[in-house]
């Protein structure tokens, strides 16, 4: 089924738009051009990584509609996953969309629980977590084999792009920065870093 294209900037805030996420057939591809899908992706990613949505999608993600982010790594990630696992990705977005009806306090945990309960979705969710943290792609099939088969070699990975490398979160969570790429103040190395919430928003 071909979905109607919606402007990525449609609506005024992610919270207002998410409940409108329509149920679609399981094999419908998600669309980054659809504002709701992108919002769901960021909310899903925030729940899975523990990093605040406003940090994953800079440029006033909450205060204004999407697409005020010049880096826009989320779009690259969205397209990357959508090209490789469209049906399962759609299911993950649906889980994130449905969770918006729940109270905010337990929403992230609810997303995690539902993802864990969906055997086909949970390995893609792991791939998405690794993608945000490392800027690299681990195929969910390889992750599943590594988890379930004894003595399976470590899964191979591919760095998604130079932008993905520079936006990876692993070292930011450690209050540092990716090697060779820092946007911190000159001389930051001579003093203790800011507290972790400053980096990850949580």
């Amino acid at each position: 089924m071909k979905l109607p294209a919606v402007s990525p900037d449609a609506g005024s805030s992610p919270a207002r738009r998410l409940p409108q996420l329509q149920r679609r057939s399981a094999d419908s591809p998600a669309s980054a051009q659809t504002g709701n899908d992108m919002v769901a992706f960021v909310q899903l990613s925030a729940a899975l990584t523990g990093i605040a949505d406003v940090k994953l999608a800079t440029g006033n993600f909450n205060a204004t509609p999407a697409n005020s982010d010049p880096v826009d790594i989320r779009r690259q990630y969205f397209d990357w996953v959508n090209r490789r696992r469209p049906a399962v990705f759609r299911r993950l977005l649906q889980i994130a969309g449905d969770a918006q009806k729940l109270p905010e306090a337990g929403r992230a945990q609810a997303i995690i629980d539902r993802v864990q309960a969906a055997p086909d979705a949970k390995y893609l969710a792991r791939s998405i977590v690794l993608m945000w943290y490392l800027g690299a792609w681990y195929d969910p099939g390889d992750l599943q084999k590594a988890a379930e088969l004894p003595n399976h070699p470590s899964p191979a990975f591919k760095v998604i792009s130079s932008k993905a490398y520079s936006q990876a979160w692993a070292l930011r969570v450690a209050q540092a920065h990716p090697m060779g790429f820092s946007e911190m103040q000159f001389g930051y190395w001579a003093r203790p870093p800011s507290e972790r919430p400053v980096f990850i928003g949580n």
Binding site: G59, N60, D69, S162, S166, F186
Partner: protein, 538 residues
């Protein structure tokens, strides 16, 4: 039906702009262009039609101040309103930008804001390049008409602030020509330039730029009164003073521009503004008609082993124009970059059989490599004037094309300044910090205005948009899109530092050795303070 709608739109636009003009006339500030020193008004115009001249809030539904349709010429009333408004109020003291735009434009928030910043950049460009006499409008200026920024009442060259002995100076001090140029210098019309390495070598000493006539391109930096006053107040013109104990606790934080209180016309101030320009030496009379020109006396580097400098007189044509402007809402500064339209081709234009200022069409096997630095040595030889020693000519291509939106805006503003050489200049882009909360964030510690939070982590630049921006004459050899290697105004200037020393240990650590105060020698996005002189090393 369609033509009726169009008629209504243009009529409304004309009415609004006439209203703006009428109100501006009523307040009666028509006599002279306000200098940055005494600017009593701020230009409140922006890309979306304001509700009234004193309230920059846009009218809803949103309408653009300029119609960007390429098929329609700029309305004469729109042109008059924009140019007269700039004559009367000068530069915008602060950007007025929203993520909104007219219905049906199918633009993202990022694109709407970029349009707003680019509009701000054109207003700034026209205001700074308008005739300094305050009576002539920019579209009536001649190639060599002195511009606002060339008037010493408004801007000072960096080396007139960073004096050789690290001495203090006053804003009204007369321009002193380098000693070897004194007998040739005409203070009313001449630009005096002292060649230092930064005058001919690109940032990070990546090499000089040589035009198709074999001349070096030259570079210069200037600052406005608010920058000057801050530097004088903290004695940052002197290297020993930068290193003083008192300055070890200083967080360099230049003034930020601010619009008047909402609903008022008077008030506000422009904040810190820095200009960097690039010049092409003009050999022929034909060339002089295409550029904004200035007569310059240039003090050359001395020959090796000598202290004797020669003075040469040249006519220079403006080829590049950067403006850095710090505002209350963009404490990482707003970065505007213009160029002469004939500088270099984009990659898609290299096949055109024409010559550019810094590129020559070539389709043989012996074509020189593009974007390569010249062979060494790079220093100009005094005996050759400012001709490069050898046959090398720079073959420069623009790596990042202008966006279609910027090209459309350029066409419209070029139409507005038509009849003057300024129609030969184009905006490349404007870089701005796109994360608003981050961009306006104040330091949690109390401090004097603007009290910029200089410790933001992990991104002190607050997500610059666009991520990369390079001027083909000022960042020639760092064009591209490689993070931290290619030119990004903020990412580069965020690393600028001074000679400030760390405070005494007792002030840095408590009795247990834990740090109690942070040491800053970062200089608020400008490399100017590195040029302070005095002390044992001049």
């Amino acid at each position: 039906m369609r033509s009726t709608a169009r008629y209504r739109r243009t009529t409304v636009m004309r009415d609004d702009l006439l209203a703006i003009g009428a109100v501006l006339s009523l307040v009666g500030i028509l006599s002279s262009f306000p200098s940055s020193q005494a600017q009593a008004r701020c230009n409140l115009m922006h890309d979306l039609m304001p509700t009234n001249p004193s309230n920059p809030e846009p009218i809803k539904p949103f309408r653009q101040t300029l119609d960007f349709d390429s098929k329609r010429p700029v309305e004469p009333a729109t042109k008059e309103a924009i140019l007269n408004n700039i004559m009367e109020t000068g530069i915008p003291c602060q950007e007025t930008v929203t993520g909104d735009g007219p219905e049906g434009t199918k633009k993202t928030q990022l694109q709407h804001r970029q349009r707003g910043f680019d509009f701000y950049s054109w207003l700034t460009f026209i205001a700074l390049n308008s005739p300094a006499d305050g009576r002539t409008r920019i579209d009536k200026s001649m190639p060599n008409t002195k511009a606002v920024w060339e008037d010493r009442k408004n801007f000072k060259q960096l080396l007139d602030v960073m004096l050789p002995d690290g001495a203090a100076s006053k804003w009204d001090d007369p321009k002193k020509a380098p000693p070897e140029c004194e007998n040739q210098f005409k203070p009313d019309t001449d630009m005096g330039i002292e060649i230092i390495e930064e005058s001919y070598n690109q940032p990070f000493r990546t090499g000089p730029l040589i035009d198709q006539q074999g001349n070096y391109a030259l570079f210069d930096i200037l600052m406005n009164r608010e920058m000057f006053d801050y530097i004088q107040k903290h004695k940052l013109y002197s290297k020993p003073e930068q290193q003083s104990e008192e300055n070890s606790k200083l967080k360099v934080d230049f003034p930020a521009g601010k619009n008047p209180t909402k609903g008022e016309i008077e008030g506000g101030h422009p904040g810190g503004i820095i200009i960097k320009v690039s010049w092409k030496i003009l050999d022929s009379e034909a060339e002089k008609r295409k550029f904004h020109t200035v007569d310059a006396v240039i003090s050359m580097l001395p020959d090796r082993g000598s202290t004797q400098r020669q003075c040469v007189r040249k006519t220079l044509g403006l080829v590049g124009f950067h403006v850095m402007h710090k505002t209350e809402t963009r404490l990482q500064w707003i970065w505007t970059s213009f160029e002469h339209v004939d500088n270099v081709p984009e990659e898609s234009e290299v096949g055109k059989r024409r010559s550019w200022n810094f590129y020559q069409f070539c389709n043989t096997r012996a074509c020189p490599a593009v974007n390569q630095t010249p062979p060494r040595p790079w220093e100009p030889k005094p005996s050759l004037g400012l001709k490069f020693d050898g046959p090398f000519r720079s073959q420069i291509v623009r790596k990042t094309p202008l966006t279609e939106d910027t090209k459309r805006m350029n066409k419209k503003f070029q139409e507005i300044v038509r009849g003057s050489v300024w129609e030969n200049y184009m905006l490349l882009s404007t870089q701005w910090p796109s994360d608003f909360r981050c961009a306006a964030k104040k330091s949690p510690e109390s401090g004097p205005d603007p009290n910029t939070d200089l410790e933001k982590e992990p991104d002190m630049n607050c997500a610059p948009a666009p991520t990369f921006l390079a001027n083909s004459t000022l960042e020639t050899y760092s064009q591209g899109n490689v993070p931290l290697a290619s030119s990004s105004c903020m990412a580069c200037h965020g690393n600028a530092t001074s000679y400030q020393s760390s405070p005494p240990a007792a002030d840095q650590f408590d009795a247990d050795g834990k740090p109690k105060a942070k040491f800053f020698n970062q200089t608020d996005f400008t490399f100017m303070l590195e040029k302070a002189r005095g002390g044992s090393q001049q």
